[in-house]
């Protein structure tokens, strides 16, 4: 550094750095609005996370409230409901992962073999459609189809002389309804990324395989699936990383008092304790705990996959 010192006292490298920054000042102005929004609305709440370690008192504010350490975390981890919440959360997301993950891959592989271009396009358009339906409408449809008095499912059951079943108030039905409605809604959209990967396959590879007498199944097994593997790995990492982060929106919409045993998950618990009962500190602690576990799991899975020599997220 010393031998590069210029007459102005600044090293040439740092001066050129400043020059590069000043020359691009307008680019920084382009970023400024987004950055300000980010600092206020996503880093602002991070500042507020400290109330998880405090006894939040509205009059004293976030900064002024007294510290109490890990009391809220201890309370949560020893709470009667903790094991139930943990079990419900893990079961729901594992079930969603196991049932939901293969379908987009299968759909993509199948669509890739479909010869009729027009039909393929129609199938794609229709299978993507549920993705654009709002969660409220999705659960509204579920409620309509499965309602005991006016629901279609039960009218069909009655035609066959079966008893009408109140699917939506049966705790053991909750997970099935949650997961399979999710598969219905997400399968088509999820297949796009795999179709994109498949479209990148060099056609010559397939032609060579055909000349060598490979059947379609063999070509899928030895050409298409290996092509999809990196994408599959990355999506699996992401999915495993969010094993403890079941979203609250869909669960809240499906919930009723009769199915709390199976449907109460950590995020809905945070919402109820925090916003409905205004226990801000306690629920922030639960949310923070959940977040830390999520990030840890994500990093762990990512490290393991990288060690195994597969493509990883970071």
């Amino acid at each position: 550094m010393l031998q590069n010192t210029s007459p102005t006292g600044l090293s040439t490298s740092s001066r050129s750095l400043w020059q590069r920054i000043i020359r691009n000042y307008d680019l920084y102005l382009f970023i400024l609005p987004a950055l300000i929004w980010y600092l206020v609305f996503t880093y602002g709440p991070l500042y507020g996370v400290q109330i998880a370690f405090k006894n939040f008192n509205g009059a004293l504010g976030i900064w002024g409230s007294p510290w109490i350490g890990f009391k809220h975390f201890r309370n949560f981890l020893t709470a009667y409901s903790f094991p139930i919440l943990l079990r419900n959360t893990i079961l729901l997301s594992l079930y969603s992962l196991v049932a939901g993950f293969p379908f987009p891959i299968l759909l993509a592989l199948m669509l890739n073999e479909l010869g009729f271009k027009r039909y393929k396009k129609i199938v794609q358009t229709v299978t993507y459609a549920p993705h654009f339906i709002s969660m409220v409408v999705m659960i509204g449809m579920l409620t309509l189809f499965f309602s005991p008095s006016m629901g279609v499912f039960n009218s069909i059951r009655e035609v066959f002389g079966l008893q009408s079943v109140s699917f939506l108030t049966r705790p053991e039905m909750f997970r099935h309804l949650y997961v399979w409605s999710g598969v219905w809604q997400g399968m088509g959209w999820g297949s796009i990324i795999y179709l994109a990967a498949l479209s990148a396959v060099d056609p010559e590879q397939h032609e060579a395989a055909i000349i060598d007498g490979a059947s379609r199944l063999q070509r899928i097994r030895y050409i298409n699936i290996p092509v999809l593997l990196p994408t599959i790995t990355i999506l699996l990492i992401l999915n495993c990383g969010s094993i403890l982060s079941v979203g609250y929106e869909k669960v809240l919409l499906m919930q009723n008092d009769l199915i709390l045993d199976t449907s109460e998950v950590i995020s809905t618990y945070v919402y109820k304790r925090g916003l409905l009962r205004a226990e801000y500190s306690y629920s922030s602690a639960v949310g923070l705990f959940n977040n830390v576990v999520n990030v840890t799991v994500l990093l762990l899975v990512n490290t393991v996959v990288r060690k195994l020599g597969q493509s990883s997220l970071f």
């Binding site: 691009n24 680019l27 709440p45 507020g48 409220v136």
Partner: protein, 299 residues
């Protein structure tokens, strides 16, 4: 057909099974949507007894007439249009210039800034601290709360940045700079017109998220006059809040009629609220695909 003949027997069997399976999946996904449409224009009695299966029976538009004359729903509709249009503009104004600047490889601190944006994707303050912040900013129950609380989505920022890195020819920009064009002019008159595809993708992603969102409305808004459509839908579809129906008779028969009417209205509401999105998106499908592909490129 000629193509099918060239296939071996095994492959032909495979193709036929493949075709059947796809068609089954297609029907499983399409049928519930189709059913809602035919149920919304059928006589409720036939729907609730399971006789409406393949086509509407007793076609009438009574449900739609009532939905469109309900003031609460129409207010929600107007509010949602406001939130979607203004909100999406807000999202785009924040995201597009930032993504453009971040796409410049010689920008000092580019990775650091990207890190700032990406960090909260994995680690965020969570629901409660966010709520307290919005409360402290005195935004609760204002027209602006839903607009302001959603700004830049990191995923969309990355998509746009990837697009600008590859989509706009560098030579064109350099030539414009040599000709004495300022960065702002360059961006507005050269880069933006070349970036219609990415603007469309982001507008759709942001717009649909805005149209479909209900939870922020539920926690940040008190007054029904400001509620977005999805929130009102939730009350009617899921919480079974009755719409203001004219028949206010007493007794089981009046009750039964009311229940039937409420069911019919739900089918109509699903169509009325989802139609804008479902009608728009097939025309823009190629852009959606483009967006997913841009997002899947690492970097």
């Amino acid at each position: 057909m000629s193509r099918l003949i060239r296939e071996s027997v095994g492959d032909r069997v495979f193709l036929i099974i493949n075709f059947i399976l796809i068609t089954m999946l297609f029907l499983i996904i399409a049928y519930p949507l189709y059913f809602v449409i035919i149920a919304s224009i059928s006589d409720v009695d036939y729907v609730s007894t399971g006789r409406v299966i393949l086509y509407p029976i007793g076609i009438n538009f009574e449900g739609y007439r009532r939905v469109f004359s309900d003031s609460l729903i129409m207010t929600g509709y107007r509010n949602t249009i406001f939130y979607t249009v203004v909100g999406t503009l807000f999202n785009l104004t924040l995201t597009i210039p930032a993504a453009y600047a971040l796409s410049k490889k010689d920008l000092v601190g580019r990775n650091f800034l990207m890190g700032i944006f990406a960090f909260t994707m994995y680690f965020s303050g969570g629901m409660i601290p966010t709520f307290l912040l919005v409360r402290d900013l005195k935004l609760l129950d204002t027209w602006w709360v839903l607009i302001l609380t959603s700004g830049v989505t990191c995923y969309n920022l990355i998509i746009a940045r990837t697009f600008f890195q590859n989509g706009v020819p560098q030579e064109l920009e350099e030539a414009a700079v040599i000709d004495g064009c300022s960065r702002v002019r360059l961006f507005i008159s050269i880069v933006l017109p070349l970036s219609r595809a990415i603007i469309a993708v982001l507008a759709l992603y942001y717009g649909i998220a805005r149209w479909n969102s209900w939870f922020p409305g539920m926690i940040y808004l008190d007054s029904r006059a400001k509620a977005p459509l999805q929130l009102i839908l939730r009350d009617i579809l899921i919480e079974n809040q009755q719409m203001a129906l004219d028949e206010t008779g007493i007794g089981t028969e009046a009750e039964a009629i009311r229940l039937k009417l409420a069911t019919l209205l739900k089918y109509c509401l699903i169509i009325v609220s989802s139609a804008p999105v479902l009608i728009v998106y097939p025309f823009l499908q190629k852009y959606f695909n483009q967006g997913v592909m841009l997002g899947s490129i690492k970097g």
